[in-house]
C-alpha cells in the first residue's frame, strides 16, 4: 500500500484518534488514558492503530505495544458483539464461580478469552466487580447478573442475540 500521508481520505479511525489526543494531550503520561478511550471507540487496538498513536504522540511503537500488552484491559483482537465477564474474585470463587465459568465454556463451546465463531459472544474472566453481595456475579455488556446457578446460564445467553 502506498503512503497516503496528506491525502484527503484519511482513515476515519485516525481522525477520531486525533480528536482524543487534542482533548487529552500528547504527553506520554496520557498514553494509558488515550489507549483506553481509543479502545472504547474502536473496540480493540490493532497494530496500525498503535503505530499511528505512537507516531502522533512522538513515542516509540515498542513502548505503546509494551503498555497495550501489559494491562489486561487492552485487547489487540476484535471482540464479539456481547462481552461476558465472569467475576473470579475470591467472594465469587468460594461461591462457585468456577462452575459457572465451566458451564459457559460448555454451552458456548469456547474457552475463556475466546470469541464464538459467529462473533456473537466473547467470554472473559475478570477479578472482582465489587458486587460481592450478589456472588457469584457476571457482567454482560455492562449489565450485572447475580446470585447465579448453572441453571441460569442458558436463559442469560438467550437474552443476547
Amino acid at each position: 500500500m502506498s503512503c497516503q500521508c496528506g491525502s484527503a481520505s484519511k482513515d476515519e479511525r485516525f481522525v477520531k484518534i486525533d480528536q482524543i489526543l487534542d482533548q487529552n494531550g500528547r504527553d506520554e503520561s496520557f498514553l494509558i488514558q488515550n489507549l483506553e478511550q481509543i479502545q472504547h471507540i474502536l473496540g480493540y487496538l490493532p497494530e496500525d492503530v498503535q503505530a499511528y498513536l505512537a507516531e502522533a504522540m512522538g513515542i516509540p511503537l515498542s513502548k505503546v505495544y509494551g503498555v497495550v500488552t501489559f494491562y489486561s484491559l487492552f485487547t489487540t483482537e476484535p471482540i464479539g458483539k456481547h462481552k461476558i465477564s465472569i467475576c473470579l474474585g475470591t467472594a465469587c470463587y468460594v461461591k462457585g464461580a468456577g462452575e459457572i465459568l465451566a458451564e459457559f465454556e460448555k454451552q458456548l463451546k469456547i474457552k475463556v478469552g475466546e470469541t464464538t465463531p459467529d462473533g456473537r459472544f466473547t467470554l472473559t474472566a475478570c477479578r472482582c466487580l465489587g458486587a460481592c453481595g450478589l456472588a457469584p456475579v457476571l457482567n454482560v455488556n455492562g449489565k450485572v447478573f447475580g446470585r447465579l446457578t448453572t441453571d441460569d446460564i442458558a436463559g442469560i445467553l438467550a437474552q443476547f442475540e
Binding site: 475470591t90 472482582c128 460481592c132 453481595g133 450478589l134
Partner: protein, 597 residues
C-alpha cells in the same frame, strides 16, 4: 431553602445498582409526583449503606425506617402506605433470623449495632453528587482550618499524634510519611491517592469513592498543604465506572466552589487534582508500580530506596496514600487527634473498614473499631454462616494475606495481631469460608491470581510462583508426591526473601498459612488422593445409593460419558473408569440417590 417532611435515602452503590436500585428511585420519584408530594418528600441517592446482601436498601427519615430487598414495583406501596398514611410497609422491613418481630429502625439492626463509622461516616447519608450536602456535614471545614490557622508542620503533627496508619496494606504511619515528603526539598511535589483496589473480594475504597468523593478530595488537599504540593492524582480502577463518574463530578464542583484551584480560601495555597485510570493490573497497587503507571508506562515496580517521599512521581517527592487513609484525615482534623487515638488498640488507632464476603449471611461493608474480635465480626455483625454450616477459615489481606481459623476467633483484630497470626490487615477484604471450601484449592486460587498478575520483572516472583502453582495443580488433581509439601515451603521462603516488591514477597503467604493451619487437608490430597471438602473434581467419585435409586434412568440418559448403566426400576451403577466427574447426574437425580465422596 426548601424544607421537606420526609427524606428518602436510596442506596446508589454498585451492589444495589446491580439490583435495579436506579429503577426503584425513578419509580419512587414518579409515584411521589403522581400524588403531588414532590414538595414534601425528597428522594436522595446516596453511597453504600454497607448491607449489600439485602439490596436494594433504603432509609426513610426522620423515622429512620430501614427497608431492604425493595423491588422497583414496591415503590407505589411505599409511597401510599408510608408517605401518605404514615405506617411502615411491614413486609419490606428487616427481619432478624432468630426473631419473628420486624426491626424498624436502622440503628437497632444487629449488623449496624457493633459498627463505628468514621471513614464511612457520610456513605449512605449524603448525596455524593451534591457538594452542598457534603459542606452541610462540615465538609471542607477541616481544609479551611488547616490553610488558615495551622502551619504545615502543625497539620503533620496532628496526623502523627492521632496514630493513623496506612489502610492500604502495609500500615505505615501516615504522619511520618508526610513528614518525609515535607522535608524533601523540591520545586514541585505530588499527592497521589491509591484507589487501585485490586484485592479480589474487597470493595472498601470503591464504596468510599462512590459515597463520599469530596471527603477524599478534601483530605488530598490537606495533604498537599502539609507537604507543600500543588498537584494531586487519583489513580482509580477503570473497573469502577460509578466511582470514576462521581469523582469527576466532585472535582468539577470543588473547582467551581473555589475549593480546588488557585488561592484556596483566599490564601496562597493552590491545589488541583486529576484522575488517572488504572487498566487492570494488580501490581499497580504497589506504590512504585502505581507511579510508573501514572506516568503512562508499564506498571513495573522498582527497588526502594529511594522512597517516593524523596523521589516519586516524575522524580519529584510524592506521598501515596490509600483511599480509606485519606477518608480518616478530615475527621481527625475536625475532631482532634485525641478523639481518634481514643479508639482502637495500643498500636492500631481508629477504625478499619472490612468488605465482608463469602460464606456469611450478612455480606457487606462494615467499619469497626480496631481491636474488635473476629467472632463479633462473623457472628454478630455477619450473622453467622449460612445454612448452619461450620466456620472453617477467614482470609484477610487477600492474595497477600493468610487465613484465620477457629483458634483466632477471639484475638482483637489489629495490624500487629494479624501479622502474629500469620496473616495481615491488607486493604480489608475478609472472605469467610465454611466446611465446604477446600483450603488447598483456595491456596491454589490465590496463587493462580498472583502468578497471573506477576509483572515479570524479577525471576523469584515470575518463575517461582509458576513452579509453586504447578505443584499445587498436581496436588489438587491427585498427582501430588510426599516431597511436594517440602518443596512448596522451600520455594515459598525463597520467593518471600528475594522478590523485588510486595506482590512477590507476599504471594506465598496463602500457601504457607494454609499449610500451617490445614496440613491434614494437604496430606489427604497427597496420600489418600481424597479432597475432604469434596471440591477438587479429579479426586471425587460419584456413587449411587442402591437403596434410594428408583431406577428411573434419568441420570443414565443424560450422562455425557455414558458411564451409567442399569435396568429400569433397578438400581443403576456408575462406572468409575468412564465417569468424567461432571456432576450432571447428581443435580438431575430427583431422589437424592447420588452422592460424591
Amino acid at each position: 431553602m426548601e424544607f421537606y417532611r420526609t427524606h428518602v435515602l436510596v442506596c446508589a452503590g454498585t451492589g444495589c445498582t446491580s439490583m435495579d436500585s436506579r429503577l426503584l428511585r425513578q419509580n419512587l420519584y414518579e409515584e411521589i409526583i403522581k400524588r403531588g408530594l414532590e414538595k414534601e418528600v425528597k428522594v436522595i441517592e446516596t453511597g453504600c449503606f454497607g448491607f449489600c446482601n439485602l439490596g436494594p436498601v433504603m432509609v426513610v427519615y426522620p423515622e429512620g425506617t430501614f427497608y431492604c430487598q425493595v423491588k422497583p414495583q414496591d415503590a407505589a406501596q411505599i409511597v401510599e402506605e408510608h408517605f401518605i398514611k404514615g405506617r411502615p410497609v411491614e413486609r419490606l422491613l428487616y427481619q432478624h433470623e432468630k426473631d419473628t418481630a420486624n426491626v424498624v429502625e436502622m440503628e437497632n439492626i444487629e449488623f449496624f449495632k457493633h459498627q463505628k463509622r468514621v471513614a464511612l461516616q457520610n456513605c449512605g447519608l449524603i448525596d455524593p453528587e451534591n457538594i452542598e450536602e457534603y459542606i452541610a456535614q462540615d465538609g471542607y471545614f477541616a481544609l479551611a482550618h488547616c490553610v488558615k490557622d495551622l502551619t504545615p508542620m502543625e497539620v503533620i503533627d496532628i496526623i502523627k499524634k492521632s496514630g493513623l496508619r496506612g489502610r492500604g496494606g502495609g500500615g505505615f504511619p501516615t504522619g511520618t510519611k508526610w513528614e518525609f515528603a515535607y522535608k524533601s526539598q523540591a520545586d514541585q511535589k505530588y499527592v497521589v491517592c491509591n484507589a487501585d483496589e485490586g484485592d479480589p473480594g474487597a470493595f472498601m475504597d470503591r464504596s468510599v469513592l462512590e459515597g463520599d468523593p469530596h471527603g477524599v478530595l478534601e483530605a488530598m488537599a490537606i495533604a498537599g498543604y502539609a507537604i507543600g504540593a500543588s498537584k494531586g492524582f487519583i489513580y482509580v480502577r477503570a473497573e469502577y465506572p460509578i466511582a470514576v463518574e462521581r469523582l469527576k463530578i466532585a472535582i468539577r464542583q470543588a473547582r467551581e466552589y473555589g475549593l480546588l484551584g488557585d488561592n484556596i480560601f483566599g490564601t496562597d495555597f493552590c491545589f488541583d487534582i486529576d484522575i488517572r485510570l488504572g487498566a487492570g493490573a494488580f501490581v499497580c497497587g504497589e506504590e512504585t508500580a502505581l507511579l510508573a503507571s501514572t506516568e503512562g508506562r508499564r506498571g513495573e515496580p522498582r527497588p526502594r530506596p529511594p522512597f517516593p517521599a524523596v523521589k516519586g512521581l516524575f522524580d519529584k517527592p510524592t506521598i501515596i496514600n490509600n483511599v480509606e487513609t485519606f477518608a480518616n484525615v478530615t475527621k481527625i482534623i475536625r475532631n482532634g487527634w485525641e478523639w481518634f487515638a481514643s479508639m482502637g488498640t495500643e498500636k492500631s488507632k481508629g477504625t478499619k473498614v472490612f468488605a465482608l464476603a463469602g460464606k456469611i449471611n450478612n455480606i457487606g461493608l462494615i467499619e469497626i473499631p480496631m481491636g474488635t474480635t473476629l467472632r463479633t465480626i462473623i457472628y454478630d455483625i455477619g450473622g453467622g454462616i449460612p445454612k448452619g454450616k461450620k466456620f472453617k477459615a477467614a482470609q484477610t489481606g487477600g492474595p497477600s494475606g493468610g487465613c484465620l481459623t477457629e483458634t483466632h476467633l477471639d484475638i482483637p483484630i489489629d495490624y500487629d495481631n494479624l501479622i502474629a497470626a500469620g496473616s495481615m490487615m491488607g486493604s480489608g477484604g475478609l472472605i469467610v469460608m465454611d466446611e465446604d471450601n477446600c483450603m488447598v484449592d483456595i491456596a491454589r486460587f490465590f496463587l493462580e491470581f498472583t502468578q497471573e498478575e506477576s509483572c515479570g520483572k524479577c525471576p523469584p516472583c515470575r518463575i517461582g510462583t509458576k513452579r509453586m502453582l504447578e505443584i499445587l495443580d498436581r496436588i489438587t488433581t491427585g498427582k501430588g508426591t510426599p516431597e511436594d509439601l517440602d518443596n512448596l515451603e522451600v520455594l515459598a521462603n525463597t520467593i518471600k526473601s528475594s522478590s523485588l516488591c510486595a506482590l512477590g514477597q507476599t504471594s506465598p503467604n496463602p500457601v504457607l498459612s494454609t499449610i500451617k493451619h490445614f496440613r491434614k487437608e494437604y496430606e489427604a490430597h497427597i496420600y489418600d488422593k481424597k479432597c475432604p471438602a469434596h471440591v477438587c473434581q479429579a479426586l471425587l467419585s460419584y456413587k449411587i445409593d442402591p437403596l434410594k435409586c428408583k431406577g428411573c434412568s434419568l441420570c443414565a440418559r443424560n450422562c455425557p460419558a455414558e458411564a451409567i448403566t442399569g435396568k429400569i426400576k433397578e438400581p443403576f451403577i456408575i462406572s468409575q473408569d468412564k465417569c468424567i466427574k461432571c456432576g450432571d447426574c447428581m443435580t438431575r437425580c430427583k431422589f437424592g440417590a447420588i452422592s460424591k465422596e
